[in-house]
């Protein structure tokens, strides 16, 4: 393979690995930047995306202990993947609004440790509820027929069609959210709030509503990540925690409150992971933690962030 081919192949692989992390990280980052709220329950939205999405696209098998005891069988709308991709962000947007109102808001003024404890607890509760109803075994989230198989890009290698589709879907979603925040009044209030919430309030702008909306948007993205990630990662209750950790590292590396930071952080994390797999596979799982540690040492606010993670 030529050098150009190797480099482009590396970039495609990095994009494919990074996409899901970025989608989940954006919501985490915005919530942390605007509301100063550490929301580990954000990964529950990913879980909602995976499991509800599976029920919408195909069929969800309820084989957990509680489901068995009450005779709950299989439930599925079989509407197809695109329908799930369209409906899930709306559902998780709504769930995000509920979470903001009933979980996040009472904890805005509480210490980070309280926020971490309650949101991580909620994630675990959701995870175990899924186990109780759906069961702990891995489910198959079939990719849509139009994205099955592999595509050969000549000297750049052969890639799973679905991986390339994920890159495309992620790009569209991230661009849409970026434009929304950059060019709308809601986005302006959010950006101003990220810089100085107190000043925004003093200027007479009610920041609560834009923050609420942006909380929902972040949740919608995480839900969408669940739908596009379902056919790639295992569909098991623990997958929420599995996705949360690298997504949080993306926020740490990219910087809090910045969409561009999340994208840059996600790409860096992906590049390190892919690079290590190619050259030192035994270090691949620890490499991203090392990267996060180095970034925290050199730039505590992250590469693109204005607020330090521990502030």
């Amino acid at each position: 393979m030529s050098v150009v081919g190797s480099v482009v192949g590396f970039m495609i692989q990095t994009l494919a690995v990074s996409s899901i992390y970025i989608l989940v990280a954006i919501g985490l980052s915005i919530t942390l930047g605007t509301l100063k709220f550490v929301n580990f329950a954000h990964a529950a939205m990913y879980l909602a995306g995976v499991y509800i999405g599976l029920g919408i696209a195909l069929e969800l098998q309820f084989s957990g202990d509680i489901a068995r005891s009450i005779g709950l069988g299989n439930v599925g709308l079989d509407l197809g993947f695109l329908a799930a991709l369209a409906i899930i962000p709306i559902i998780t947007f709504g769930l995000g609004l509920l979470m903001e109102r009933f979980v996040a808001r009472p904890f805005y003024d509480r210490p980070d440790t309280d926020q971490i404890l309650v949101t991580f607890g909620i994630l675990l509760i959701v995870q175990e509820l899924i186990r109780a109803f759906v069961g702990g075994r891995s489910l198959t989230f079939s990719r849509p027929a139009w994205a099955e198989g592999a595509i050969s890009l000549g000297p750049l290698g052969t890639y799973a069609s679905w991986r390339l589709a994920i890159i495309g879907i992620t790009s569209v979603l991230v661009l849409a959210v970026y434009l929304y925040i950059e060019y709308t009044d809601v986005g302006l209030a959010v950006r101003a709030g990220t810089e100085d919430t107190e000043m925004v309030n003093l200027l007479g702008v009610r920041a609560t509503r834009p923050f609420l909306v942006i909380f929902g948007v972040g949740s919608g993205l995480a839900g969408a990540a669940g739908v596009v990630g379902g056919p790639v990662f295992s569909v098991v209750p623990e997958v929420g925690v599995g996705v949360l950790v690298p997504a949080f590292l993306v926020v740490v590396v990219g910087g809090v409150g910045s969409i561009v930071g999340s994208v840059v952080g996600g790409l860096l994390i992906g590049a390190v992971e892919v690079g290590l797999v190619m050259n030192a596979p035994t270090w691949s799982s620890v490499g991203i933690y090392a990267l996060a540690a180095v970034v925290l040492l050199v730039r505590p606010a992250g590469l693109m962030g204005a607020v330090e993670v521990d502030e």
């Binding site: 690995v17 075994r137 891995s138 198989g149 595509i151 052969t158 295992s234 799982s285």
Partner: protein, 462 residues
């Protein structure tokens, strides 16, 4: 040091308890005018009251019930195998107490408990992690007074647990563990394994796969980066290179990897003809599914050396045409298989997997050995298991070797079916290409293979 202290403290308590039990039993006999429980029913349990053998490990058993520990992965990449194992363990305990299943087929078992004791059990979650497994097993020994415990998947957890078994003089019946080290360099007197190992998989697989795909091919290996994956890739390399193939590269992947795409891309770029995916459980489902997604099966042949049903179910149609091995199949045509599969289906509404059969069999083997020994005293039970031969486990004739506690037995070489041909209801995901038999196709002497590195350790009554 702390563990030694704990052990000796418990031993002292056990000895004192045994002495007290003997005295109290006599007193109870006077007060109740006869024996009031299984301990004094005149069937030889007096030995377990402490009169015949000294206290050792959790022997003698206190009370009317013998507690077994079932320590399986309920979380982590091998949780599906663990869930099926747990179902089988619970079924085995039920059959030992109430009859049914293999208890009705095996002469050694009565269906009225074991050696006069009701069988009770505690369960634990190893989380597919060696340290967690050891801690959980330790709780079973210390808190629950388990007289035997069993579990497995992964091999790292099995090896950690059997090391503890040897230290604490409490028997560990291995369930799903396929590393050569379990009955090789890490073997112990207090551990027994019915599962075959990676070495035997290599012996069974190489002749059939090389005949199918041709001579002089190049292969690339991805392997789970812990004892099982390491020994399996070594065995694959040994037997396929002996058969004329050559290894291009062999790359470790962390246990629990979600995304194999980059590893797989490297495999494609290597130009090798065949890809070995030495992954298991969820990892195995993921890696083979992602390999097929990535179109690797168009350029390379894929081999998954160790299969099981939950893994095949997770991978779906991706396993079409993929060779591998398994220890048992619920669709085999023999009486023990039929009896176990029917009992399992009746209880749980699903077809048992090979890990489930291993769990069931490990419990039954232990119980039968106790009955033959007439005591739970661990060294006597060990001696009953060593060299024991049986043919009523659903996979032909088997022998538990005395030299390394490795069962010599047949192995199924299987090949995955297409999604249309698969039948989840009957657990049919592959065709059995061959039942590689011991000693003709698989097996090794006590001074060769993994056994050459095995030193079992002491019985505890020397």
């Amino acid at each position: 040091m702390a563990e030694n202290d704990t052990q000796s403290r418990r031993d002292v308590l056990k000895t004192a308890g045994a002495a007290g039990t003997v005295g109290l039993a006599g007193l109870a006999g006077c007060l109740e005018g006869g024996n009031g429980n299984g301990n004094g029913n005149g069937n030889g349990n007096g030995g377990d009251g402490g009169s015949e053998y000294p206290a050792l490990g959790n022997y003698p058993i206190e009370g009317d019930a013998a507690t077994l520990g079932f320590n399986v992965p309920q979380t982590g990449p091998y949780q599906e195998e663990g869930a099926d194992e747990l179902r089988a363990y619970e079924l085995a305990a039920d059959h030992l107490n109430n009859g049914g299943g293999w208890v009705d087929l095996w002469d050694d078992l009565s269906g009225d408990g074991v050696n006069g004791y009701e069988i009770d059990y505690e369960t634990g979650d190893t989380a597919t992690d060696a340290d967690t497994a050891r801690e959980s097993a330790s709780r079973m020994i210390e808190r629950d007074n388990a007289i035997m415990y069993s579990g497995g998947s992964s091999s790292a957890t099995a090896i950690a647990q059997q090391g503890l078994a040897q230290q604490e003089n409490v028997l560990f019946m291995c369930c799903l563990t396929h590393s050569n080290d379990t009955t090789g360099g890490d073997c112990v007197r207090y551990g027994f394994r019915e599962m075959f190992n990676a070495y035997m998989t290599g012996q069974a697989l190489a002749p059939i796969v090389t005949e199918e795909y041709g001579d002089d091919l190049e292969f690339y290996q991805l392997y789970a980066d812990y004892t099982w994956g390491q020994t399996q890739q070594a065995s694959m390399r040994q037997f396929f290179e002996e058969a004329g193939w050559s290894e291009v590269d062999s790359v470790p992947t962390p246990l629990g990897t979600d995304d194999y795409s980059t590893f797989l891309q490297e495999a494609v770029d290597s130009g090798a003809d065949v890809l070995f995916l030495n992954h298991y459980g969820l990892d195995g489902s993921n890696s083979v599914s992602q390999a097929v997604d990535q179109g690797i099966n168009e350029d390379m042949e894929i081999v998954v050396p160790l299969y099981n049903v939950p893994m095949a179910a997770g991978a779906g149609g991706s396993i079409e045409g993929v060779f591998g091995t398994d220890g048992w199949d619920a669709n085999l045509d023999n009486e023990p298989t039929r009896v176990f599969a029917e009992a399992f289906e009746e209880e749980y509404g699903s077809t048992p997997s090979s890990p489930a059969r291993l769990a069931y069999s490990a419990t039954m083997q232990y119980a039968a050995a106790v009955e033959r020994a007439g005591t739970f005293y661990p060294p006597e039970v060990i001696r009953e298991l060593e060299g024991y031969e049986w043919d009523n486990g659903g996979i032909g004739e088997e022998i538990m070797r005395e030299c390394d506690h490795q069962t010599m037995r047949d192995i199924l070489v299987v090949r995955g079916l297409s999604e249309e041909e698969q039948d989840a209801e009957s657990g049919r995901y592959w065709e059995v290409v061959e039942q590689a038999s011991y000693p003709d196709a698989v097996g090794y002497e006590c001074d060769s293979g993994p056994a050459a590195e095995c030193e079992l350790g002491e019985y505890g009554d020397e």
